[in-house]
Symmetry: C2
């Protein structure tokens, strides 16, 4: 059975890679862009709609503000991209917001950044997969009742692909990402061409709103409300920022020179994001599109632009298909960064150490599986309804931007004090003199302040819709990080050989206790093993049944060759629970007879051929181990006895 | 934590009973009737309606057949009760259909009887609890969305009460059972008094059917269809038989003389069942009641009979309330017999042996918990809809009646051959000469044939509605019984000391392998333990990390006092999986160096104070044990090292 499990694993995951192959598994820039940028690129494609939906509360006239607000968001995107490029170049070993915050603002802010990002990556997976499956079920309505199942299936498939390794998943995910970008850019360019009247084309016409769509507006608004709504629209547009940090956490996934390649990819990602966001916003607002629930702005735009053109239907479906795919693939950004970030935290002792272990295909498979499990739970809790999850989303990433840009602001301050040629070590990196800190520093500062304001707006507007959960969970996670760290520190202290003294080790008492329930080959094997290393072997029978007791006594003397010299202790009990008197006897031997020494218990154990047959045997050894686990000075020996059939 | 769990258990279940108290925990006849008869008595109360519902297909005129058919069913009930009294008297050690079939028809028919009964007991619990909860949610409609939860809660409460012991649960369940019987009997007597015109009472009038109830009838039917429908009505009425066998499985729960007390209780139960069934049928048909979905015949009857009488409303609600309670309590019959029957099967090696163990309160608690778990699953699968479960129900018990009566037919044949004063041993009991076999035997034969016919009718009419599942599961269970038995037989053979030869025991090689991942106090403790009983101790480090390797080498020489004489084996690997090379090394030592000898592996194990902290450590010891479990000749020793914090 274990052989077939292992070959199933080989089929799903592939053959293991040797450790030295690690460098071959690194990503080139083309794959890296696809693998890290699916989330930021898809969020850019939707940011326009997010702004419009808020503005629409004030009527269609307010939609005029879309383009100016989008320009503001784009400026912020540029600021953040710039800040992260700085981070990557100054922290070439990777780690993103967590590392840069740890180095500049200290441990606690860094842990908050880490917790916020982990939560956001879980939500990236849950939201993207649910949104992708909603697109599928909109097209094929009879699948609707299975949406939770389909979302879990999508998570399972993504998990398998990611367990196959970074490079392989990069290859699989590259094609749909680039085809999506291509489709949207062609649509935008075509839209611009129609407005310009090139080749005799006519400007696109907005589709008629379906008759049932009623635009509810508040009409005239006070100045304060107006300001509030504009801020909210701006905050909503900041969805374009999600995923920008992805590359900074994954620098070590790039081929060398890692930092340079990562920075270049970051520039490419920023450019593509700007083109998509700017292009969509410009074309959509120029056509005069109005957002409504049933059809996204992107779909409306593709429909208007391709209307009446030969081959336009093909382009429209192209955009639709790859929109659906990139929605699901956006989840992959979470799969890339959650395991890496966990491994950073685990390496520093804030998460279980085994999260730093890499699996057969050189990926952090425990992180991947943890992410898959938690996001599956989120999908089930929210019944694959991404609209309900959205209020929880984007808080974490905004907290992170604020912290990382504040960190860069501080770092730039330290660099500004260096003289030409001078260099200096921080906790985790080395900084050199560089030019331009006088303008770089304020940019980071402005970025931090703006993203901080956006964070506050997001919390205020979404608190009651679910954001409260994130506000509660982040500090709980940070508390867990601290507890974990304390535990590891205590363990290290206990195990340390500093000032080691032989007397600290327990001495080993010359006594062995063998609990028996009968006299048969299994028991004899165990008794013989026990006799081999102690003069004082005690077979203990808890007498619940006089008949069995007499049978044991009879056989005990028959097999004198082995039982000779072994003391048979019979403890009568008038209850059916045999563990309690057994543990009491062991306690007494351990605490009274051989205080402060290590004693040994030998447990005869049946090992049936087939795993299911275990259920047919009492799990006394297992239960005894559990009961004795707090005894640091009881050694338990399982002597297996193979039974066939 | 384990202390608070244990005190919670004490509160829910009570203090443990010593084994010698077993006899005090036995049931007197009054409690026993309540505990075993809740199922048969409640099913008698519904049998009339079951007959009428089938007859109604042929129109209200056909309802005239209700009374004659009910008389037929009553005759069958008497036959079965008679047969079971004979079983109890001839098999005073209890065991019911399983034991009597094993003794007379052989192992396989007995296992079929056992499997059928176990399934029926599970369904008894699921059906009764769901029906009871339906009665609750009909009265309190806002509870409807919680019906699955409420049904599971009811199962949990029943489980706790049953874990408290037989006598205690008997006391708790006696009152509602007797109050139900009393209420129905008063209603029937009152009905008869009104028909007789005693005290100037007027005959009861049937309630008007609600306007929306349309009686769909087939009108004129052919002779064959008529016969088929009458047979189906008869089979439906045989629901009155379910639960009759309960006492026969529970003879050992009675105070001594067990068989006599059980037989007397059986007679009382038969009488009460007859009075209820006959009385309800007579009064209901005389009033001219017509069954319809929203209101049961019992409720209609109680309403008609109490109509216009002072205090009548009180009697009506009395009957309603205790009907609801007895529905839930009927589940208790399953709780009594499933664990006992499981223990019989386990005692014969057909189910896990530990099902014969009795818990703190002298009940078969593994059987109780198994029943609770399986019936909870059934409740969830069928979403607490007992109507959907009914087609699966009653098949098993009918198969059982057929087999047990056929067995008694055979046994009576053997008794008939005995001469006065003569006696004879069968496999499990002793039979004596007795009078009257000439009439007892044919009664058993007729009973077997009639219940056999009913079984066939039930399978035919309910097959597609779900009975197929039972038809499939019974042979699967029987197959499982056989597999279990074969396993135990193989184990017994392997362990047996018959013709025992010392050479059969493995010799123990003088070698100990200690896998290490570092050099610290935990490792030293393990190495020191290993050195104590072998000259050839080998510390094995799987080298995945050269840095760690060098650190180990450095420390190894620092702690020469302990590491002296120990061979440090370093196995380089270019993969991250350390278990595979470790197991390969152990295999090689075990198969090549020390072929056919037992070798020893000492595993240093961290034991953190708190259970959750385990997640922070690699479970290498656990995984290694799993990987080595098929090696009958590798002994694994855990040397615990307590870590605080």
């Amino acid at each position: 059975m274990s052989a077939s499990l292992s070959s199933l694993k080989r089929i799903l995951i592939g053959e293991p890679f040797p450790t030295h192959r690690e460098i071959h598994e690194r990503l080139d820039k083309v794959r890296a862009l696809a693998i890290f940028a699916s989330d930021p690129i898809s969020s850019n494609a939707y940011a326009t709609e997010a702004i419009m939906s808020v503005l629409l509360i004030m009527g269609t006239g307010a939609l005029n503000l879309t383009l100016p607000l989008a320009l503001g968001v784009m400026a912020l995107v540029l600021l953040v991209v710039f800040s992260y490029i700085q981070t990557i170049l100054h922290y070439p070993d990777g780690g993103g917001a967590y590392t840069v915050t740890k180095d500049n603002l200290g441990r606690n802010p860094a842990l908050f950044a880490g917790a916020a990002l982990l939560i956001d990556y879980v939500l990236t997976v849950s939201v993207s997969v649910s949104a992708g499956i909603r697109a599928v079920t909109s097209a094929v309505p009879w699948l609707l009742p299975y949406s939770i199942f389909l979302a879990l299936l999508a998570i399972f498939i993504l998990t398998m692909i990611n367990l196959r390794g970074v490079r392989e998943s990069g290859t699989i995910f590259a094609i749909p990402t680039y085809l999506f970008i291509l489709g949207v850019i062609i649509t935008v360019v075509l839209g611009l061409a129609r407005f310009a009247g090139l080749f005799g084309l006519t400007p696109p016409v907005p589709p008629e709103l379906p008759p049932h769509v009623e635009l509810e507006t508040v009409g005239n608004v006070s100045n304060w409300l107006f300001l509030w709504l504009v801020l909210r629209a701006f905050a909503a547009g900041c969805t374009a920022l999600t995923g920008i940090e992805a590359i900074s956490n994954g620098v070590q996934a790039f081929k060398p020179p890692e930092a340079k390649n990562a920075a270049k990819t970051m520039v490419a990602m920023g450019l593509i994001a700007m083109i998509l966001f700017g292009g969509i916003t410009y074309v959509a607002t120029h056509i005069g599109l109005v957002p409504y629930e049933e059809e996204s702005i992107l779909s409306q735009m593709a429909r208007s632009v391709t209307e009446g053109l030969p081959g336009g239907g093909f382009l429209y479906y192209w955009v639709q298909l790859f929109t659906m795919l990139i929605l699901i693939l956006a989840a992959n950004t979470g799969y890339q960064d959650f395991p890496r970030l966990s491994s950073f935290l685990a390496h520093d002792g804030f998460m279980p150490r085994w999260m730093t272990n890499r699996g057969d295909r050189l990926v952090y498979n425990y992180g991947i599986i943890t992410l898959a499990a938690i996001s599956s739970i989120v999908v089930v809790i929210f019944r694959a309804d991404e609209i309900a999850m959205l209020p929880l989303y984007a808080l974490g990433v905004m907290l992170c931007f604020t912290l990382s840009q504040a960190s860069m602001f501080k770092l730039m301050g330290r660099i500004a004090h260096l003289k030409p040629g001078e260099k200096m070590k921080t906790h985790v990196t080395e900084i050199h003199y560089e030019k331009g800190t006088w303008w770089k520093r304020p940019l980071n500062g402005i970025g931090a302040i703006v993203t901080g304001i956006v964070l506050v707006i997001l919390i205020l507007t979404k608190f009651t819709e679910g954001a409260w959960a994130v506000v509660i969970i982040i500090p709980i996670l940070v508390w867990g990080f601290h507890r974990t760290n304390e535990h590891y520190a205590a363990v290290a202290k206990t195990l340390s050989l500093q000032d080691f003294n032989m007397a600290e080790l327990h001495t080993i008492a010359d006594v062995v206790i063998v609990p028996i329930a009968g006299v048969h080959k299994g028991t004899l094997q165990a008794l013989r093993y026990a006799k081999r290393f102690s003069q004082d072997v005690r077979a203990v029978y808890i007498n619940t049944n006089e008949e069995v007791h007499q049978r044991i006594l009879r056989r005990w003397h028959e097999i004198g060759e082995i039982t000779e010299g072994i003391h048979l202790v019979v403890i009568p009990t008038d209850f059916r629970d045999i563990l309690t008197p057994l543990v009491e006897y062991i306690d007494q031997v351990n605490d009274v007879e051989f205080a402060n020494q290590t004693i040994t218990v030998v447990v005869p154990e049946f090992v049936p051929d087939a795993v299911p047959a275990r259920i047919l045997h009492n799990q006394t050894a297992l239960l005894l181990r559990e009961r004795l686990r707090h005894h640091g000075d009881v050694v338990i020996i399982d002597v297996p006895f193979q039974v066939h059939g």
